[in-house]
Amino acid sequence: MRYNILIGGSAGQGINKVSQIMSEILTSYGYFTFNYRDYQSLVRGGHNFNVLNFSDTETASTDFFVDIIVALDNHTEILHRGQLKRGGLILKDETNYTNKNLNLILCGKITKIFGISKDILVQIVKKHFNSKEANEAVLMGYDSEETKFNLKKLKNKLTIMSGSEAVAIGAKKSNLNFFISYPMTPATGVLNEIAKIQNESLKVFQAENEIAVANMALGTSFAGKLTMIGTSGGGFDLMTEAFSLQGISEIPLTVYLASRPGPATGVPTYTSQSDLNVALYAGHGEFARVVCAPGDPIEAIEKTNELLMLSEKYGVLSILLSDKHLAEGEYSENKIDHKLTPIKISRSIPGSKIVKASSYEMNINKNSTEDSLITINNVNSRLGKIKNIELDVSKLVMYKTYGRKKSKNLIIGWGSTKGAIKDSIRDIDAKFLQIIYLSPFSKEIEQEIKKASKVVLIENNATAQLGSLIKQKIGIEIKDKILKYDGRPFFADELNKQIKKMIK
């Protein structure tokens, strides 16, 4: 079973509250959920909607066609009617959208339609709004509907987590000391999440711009603090010169890059995978880097830890590449305590020793030099560590495969498309290869591709940037591509049809 509920309204009407409350109700009932937020860059008005998907098996995507439309305004019904499946329901308020607790009335209605007990509804709403009016509103909604689907309670123990929350958890469990950032959607989520869990040894600092962010971070890291910075495309561009300083000075630095559609301001509150190339190549000069793109919150927790570890161990720039879809998508995950290795800083730091780092090439005394032999040695040493990084990273999970493992049809994707690809190939004879580390690049991927007779590349961008990387690394050009670049993520039902067309 797999249901999709579209909840729409204008900004400020509380549609996020509806999907939040419904996600909590459904996960506490043991159902897997995934919530997609589609919103515009405004604070009031406009049209925003969420699609809440739930299933009795794992889900990490939504569908284009939905079972229920929950309309908080008249506009929602008009805009989305075409997405309603045959026999689907439209839930709205009969009071002509004037009730200020309309979102709660609608929560009551949905709960009743799925036959979930009133107690769970009341209990969860109380966590959000502890008032008599809120309680009355949900009950009014609940009592006004008939049960149409009788959901059985399942035994899954689930929790809801966004990609942003996951990065914050990973950072904290790694013993991060500083998260320095300048607000930019969709990276701001991590800034907010870490701000919530600050303490004496973990501080958030909002600097005057991203240039300051990156240079300050090199300062805090140099002085012995585990440091991470976060940004999106435009801010990442501003940081570029400091990445180059990282490259020569080898001061550890981890960057969280949450991408969105560019160029420039583009479609700022939507999603895109168009920043893989800048992650791989930003910064003048030649230096080592690690680029890793987790595909869901659990991977985001683990990979945040791995990147902080790699940066600290090798003095290398590491980039955790995410996007709006992963950052703001709300996933249900099994409740487990993720044990990570806290990162210890054992290098020399000012205060105990004299330590010098520089944007110039340095001689043996750590002062500037323009000597040709020293320059060659320094370059070789900085690039030489790539071999050691590759060896270390090869012991980590660099890619994963899903679906029918012996299938000759291979689907390749990376990052946040993981959810939609996994959910779309259930009835297809295909294997899905998710590439997680983009730099270094696993040598095993070549074999995976060569084993397949049909390869389809799926990316949320217009130029197939992973495709270019594969061609560069192993000389294979993937001709069959499904590319989407309208700022929206892939929908599982849409992708299912597209893949079937390609591998029929």
Binding site: N209, N215, F222, S249, P350, G351, N367
Partner: protein
């Protein structure tokens, strides 16, 4: 070995003969040696960040921890060190070209943050390492290869900007006066919060017209009065040698430091 010798490195000094940077280096060594000899801190407790420019070569001539940073970015890098380890004495060295052009946003915000660190700004009213272009403090009319008809803009007054931005400590000193520099650097480093020291310095190769201002300079008493500070800031406008050039602590006050605010 005396303390000042311990601060030396083996590097060949590549400033032009007679460059006032030698005197700034000497004054800074005396300042640091003063802290070490009076047991206020150890040599490893200092951290410097240098910008890019002639001034920044000081990085190679001092046996102290630090980062030789990017052009215009010495302030945020030093600020990072100062919040990461509040026990360090953090000093950023920068030039008028770097900070007032490329890094002006950091300069303005530094006063608002008030992190416990010192900015020593070498102001020779010229981009010298890049062979003599005008900077935001160059006098109007300064003829360069880029501006054959002369710089068309009036200069900034950084002291006035600093005071307007809520500065915690603003001072001016003269690169030809080692003992005054040492006194001012020491006070700046000891001051709690962000301390800004402008060092007026000649460049012997470029912008010769701006040189030899010593006879207009006079020393003031340490000033703690905001209204008076604004008046002192107006006395020298960087544009001409008319008027007087006050040297000393132009404004000093105590505001909560960034380290205290984010504790």
């Amino acid at each position: 070995m005396n303390t000042k010798d311990k601060l030396k490195t083996k590097e060949e000094i590549t400033w032009c003969p007679g460059c006032p940077n030698y005197m700034i280096l000497e004054a800074f060594k005396q300042t640091v040696a003063g802290f070490i000899d009076t047991k206020k801190c150890k040599q490893s407790d200092f951290a410097m960040v240098t910008d890019i420019g002639c001034h920044a070569k000081i990085f190679d001539y001092l046996n102290l921890s630090g980062i030789y940073g990017l052009h215009g970015r010495s302030i945020p890098t030093a600020l990072g060190i100062s919040i990461a380890n509040p026990k360090l004495k953090v000093v950023a060295f920068a030039g008028d070209g770097a900070v007032y052009s490329e890094g002006m946003e950091h300069f303005i915000h530094a006063f608002r943050y008030n992190s416990n660190m010192t900015l020593i700004l070498h102001d020779n009213q010229s981009f010298s390492l890049t062979t003599g272009q005008s900077t935001p403090t160059s006098q109007k009319g300064f003829i360069t290869k880029v501006k054959p008809k002369g710089e068309e803009n009036e200069p900034f007054n950084p002291i006035r900007i600093a005071i307007a931005c809520g500065a915690n400590f603003v001072a001016r000193t003269n690169a030809r006066d080692i003992s005054h520099m040492t006194e001012v650097f020491t006070k700046a480093i000891e001051h709690k919060g962000f301390s800004f020291v402008e060092v007026i310095q000649d460049c012997l190769i470029f912008n010769l017209d701006a040189n030899n201002k010593d006879k207009y300079m006079y020393k003031i008493e340490d000033n703690y009065d905001y209204e008076k500070a604004k008046k002192i800031a107006e006395e020298f406008n960087y544009n001409s040698k008319e008027g007087k050039i006050p040297l000393g602590i132009i404004f000093s006050t105590l505001k909560p430091t960034l380290q205290e605010k984010i504790k």
